[in-house]
């Protein structure tokens, strides 16, 4: 059984430096000469080994029955705005700007952060534990790389006004040419030079194959658009996240799109009132859905990432903060209860629960 561990998934973790690059806030250097930008969810950054690498294409497979891909998009976009990174957003709605009103605001540091261990517990009990100093060091690190977002609080105007945000509606044209032009002009602002990184861009495309779009029946057009996007990303300092519902495509096109992704995630809805699942998982009541990680981007290396756990539960801590946790199996006698700590520790048996 893996020992309960607050910091990382396995007890052995590669020591990636946590110092962010001095020039650009929101950028972290990673192994093999790559640089990461934050996804907006701290747990996801940790799971992916730092964040989304620059120049990668992230694809999220939606579940038609659950809206959680929107949360991934929202945190991604908010993180970009907080770090002053230009944003391009495309969606199959008539007024994409409306979505900007639903972006979350970063949680203020004064409020209780869910992942920080409670220091007061030690005071009343006087536990002689020498490792407290290491944990506190980690907590106090000032972080301009990623933020915890309060999903109930809308993003303040200071982050939205005057920022370079470009919104495109995918319903505008019968084919993808307009979207393609927007992406091309956007990405031309962030060319990848050999030396320094001037600025970083973020692209978010929501529900790419929505049945409302006129091009949704032209699968080869959609595939070539994504291929073009990926090739443009490889030579720019930007990250694109594209969500699509795989059941709306033919199986071969869906497989091709999945293959084109550098990082592939998928969302799964959770049935409500399922007694079997309730007995099997702790914290069933708080879980909103499942996030599966199928592929993690690896740039400049042949070594793949092998995750200990591929399925995570998405829940809202204190109804505000998005948290991803390993699935914890309930104790064998079936009685529910948080037998494992609520500090986001992972337990074994996640392999048996591969949904």
């Amino acid at each position: 059984m893996a020992a309960p561990n607050v910091r990382s998934i396995s007890s052995f973790s590669r020591n990636i430096s946590v110092v962010s690059s001095p020039q650009i806030p929101g950028l972290k250097s990673g192994p093999n000469g790559t640089a990461f930008i934050s996804s907006g969810i701290r747990d996801l950054d940790r799971i992916l080994g730092g964040g989304y690498p620059l120049g990668s294409l992230v694809m999220v497979m939606e579940d038609p029955e659950a809206p959680h891909h929107m949360d991934l998009l929202r945190t991604f976009m908010s993180q970009g705005l907080v770090n002053n990174q230009p944003l391009l957003y495309a969606s199959p709605s008539k007024d994409p700007k409306g979505f900007l009103g639903t972006l979350p605001h970063p949680a203020s540091s004064k409020e209780d952060k869910p992942t920080a261990p409670d220091p007061d517990q030690g005071e009343s009990l006087r536990i002689a534990w020498q490792y407290r100093k290491y944990l506190e060091n980690q907590k106090n690190a000032i972080d301009d790389y990623s933020n915890d977002f309060d999903m109930r609080k809308p993003l303040e105007r200071q982050f939205l006004s005057g920022r370079p945000i470009d919104c495109v509606s995918l319903l505008d044209s019968s084919d993808l040419s307009i979207a393609q032009n927007h992406c091309a002009t956007f990405l031309s602002k962030f060319p990848r030079n050999s030396s320094n990184i001037a600025s970083i861009g973020r692209i978010a495309i929501q529900s790419f194959c929505s049945p409302l779009c006129e091009y949704s029946e032209k699968e080869s057009d959609m595939l070539s658009f994504i291929r073009l996007l990926k090739s443009m990303l490889m030579v720019s300092n930007a990250v694109a996240i594209v969500t699509f519902p795989p059941s709306l495509l033919s199986p071969s096109s869906s497989k091709r799109l999945q293959h084109m992704a550098d990082t592939l995630l998928s969302i799964k809805a959770i049935p409500d009132g399922d007694k079997e699942l309730e007995k099997l998982l702790t914290g069933y009541k708080d879980i909103n859905g499942f996030l599966n990680i199928h592929k993690v981007a690896r740039i400049n290396t042949q070594v793949p990432v092998i995750l200990e756990a591929k399925t995570f539960s998405m829940s809202l801590k204190k109804r505000r903060f998005l948290a991803l946790e390993c699935l914890n199996q309930a104790p064998v006698d079936g009685s529910s209860g948080t037998s494992y700590g609520t500090s986001g520790s992972c337990s074994s048996k996640s392999g048996a629960l591969d949904f």
């Binding site: 038609p64 949704s216 809805a269 049935p271 409500d272």
Partner: protein, 374 residues
């Protein structure tokens, strides 16, 4: 459950949200989508008439049946629809969907405000405006809302592409005056991605599953026919609700179609009893129960000191059939048997032990170390 679907449709959506939408899926093996639509229609109509619903009117768009069929259906349930009914409008897309019949030759004087003939089905924008117009006819242009029921989208999909149809349905859902929408669909007529796309834009999905699984023509045809006949009108009705938090509620019940329409009943308790007993045992990774064979074998085992004073021969059953007869050849005794220390020859209480080394001749010149190869 059909009751809960009906309640969701009756109550409509909240302010600022899209209207709830239901897709009823039928298959060739269970073609009762029409019965389910009829059930929902009658319930919605009676609730509108009784004033219990948030919507004040109902617009019905008929593609696969004529309007008179629906008037008959409602009449059977005790709801009379006449031309002066102020709560229902029927858009007739069944009689002449492509505009082939010359308009001047037909006379539709009876019920003309009730039933409106719609001619151009391929133009979905026009269909949308006709629906809104019919609805506004019923409830006015203010804030009062109305429901929309589409007989079946099979015909819509036949004539228009998927993006246009889903555009129409989403426009209906986002219109401020529409409180709920439902439509039915036959999944065997369309590709899977079309069905998936319609499920994508709806908030509730109901599907009808026949009781006996459809055959592939491999079973005996006669036996098949009998089963199909017997179970034709029965099956399972599954519903999936998309909840706001992102969860999915799945409910099932049984349905049964007869002369008066479709009847829903909760799932018969056969399956639930089995589930209950299974859950009494804790879920552990080892087996806590004995199978029948294991139980019989357990009974047969005689414990060491059970029959000691019996005077009978003490036969300890160790699972080998050869001992049941009671008579054993003692001569071919392998060393395996000897090492078990079991009384095997029926002599009662004796232990016979033959040492392996007795096989050797005494004072042999063999050096046991000769085998070693140093």
């Amino acid at each position: 459950m059909a009751e809960s679907i009906f309640r969701k449709l009756r109550d409509g959506g909240e302010e600022g949200e899209l209207a709830p939408a239901l897709t009823i899926e039928e298959t060739v093996a269970s073609p009762f989508g029409l019965d389910v639509s009829g059930y929902l229609l009658t319930n919605l109509s009676s609730s509108i008439l009784a004033g219990k619903s948030t919507s004040q009117g109902l617009v019905l768009i008929t593609f696969s049946r004529s309007p008179s069929f629906y008037m008959q259906l409602l009449k059977q349930k005790g709801i009379v629809v006449s031309s002066s009914s102020k709560w229902i409008r029927i858009l007739d897309c069944y009689t002449d969907p492509l505009g082939w019949i010359d308009q001047s030759s037909t006379s539709f004087s009876e019920g003309s405000s009730l039933i409106k003939l719609h001619k151009c089905v391929s133009d979905l924008k026009k269909l949308f405006s006709s629906i809104i117009e019919a609805g506004r006819d019923l409830v006015g242009a203010g804030k009062t809302r109305f429901c929309v029921a589409i007989d079946s989208v099979n015909e819509l999909l036949r004539r228009s592409s998927m993006p246009l149809v889903s555009g129409l349905l989403t426009d209906l859902r986002s219109h401020a005056q529409i409180s709920s929408v439902f439509w039915s669909l036959n999944t065997d007529l369309h590709q899977e991605k079309v069905t998936n796309a319609l499920e994508y834009i709806s908030t509730m999905k109901a599907n009808l599953e026949p009781l006996c699984p459809s055959s592939d023509g491999q079973r005996n045809a006669l036996e098949n026919l009998f089963l199909v006949h017997q179970d034709f009108g029965k099956g399972r009705f599954h519903v999936r609700f998309k909840l706001r938090k992102g969860r999915v509620r799945v409910m099932s019940e049984e349905y049964h179609v007869d002369q008066s329409g479709i009847v829903f009943s909760p799932i018969s308790s056969v399956d639930t009893v089995i589930a209950a007993t299974k859950s009494l045992l804790p879920k552990v990774q080892f087996n806590l129960q004995l199978s029948e064979k294991e139980r019989v074998e357990k009974e047969k085992v005689v414990l060491p000191f059970e029959h000691q004073d019996d005077g009978k021969s003490n036969e300890i059953y160790d699972g080998r059939r050869s001992l049941v007869d009671g008579k054993i050849e003692t001569t071919p005794l392998s060393s395996m048997e000897l090492q078990t220390d079991v009384v095997s020859s029926g002599k009662g209480g004796e232990i016979i032990y033959f040492r392996d080394s007795d096989d050797e001749h005494p004072d042999s010149d063999e050096d046991p170390d000769d085998d070693l190869d140093i």
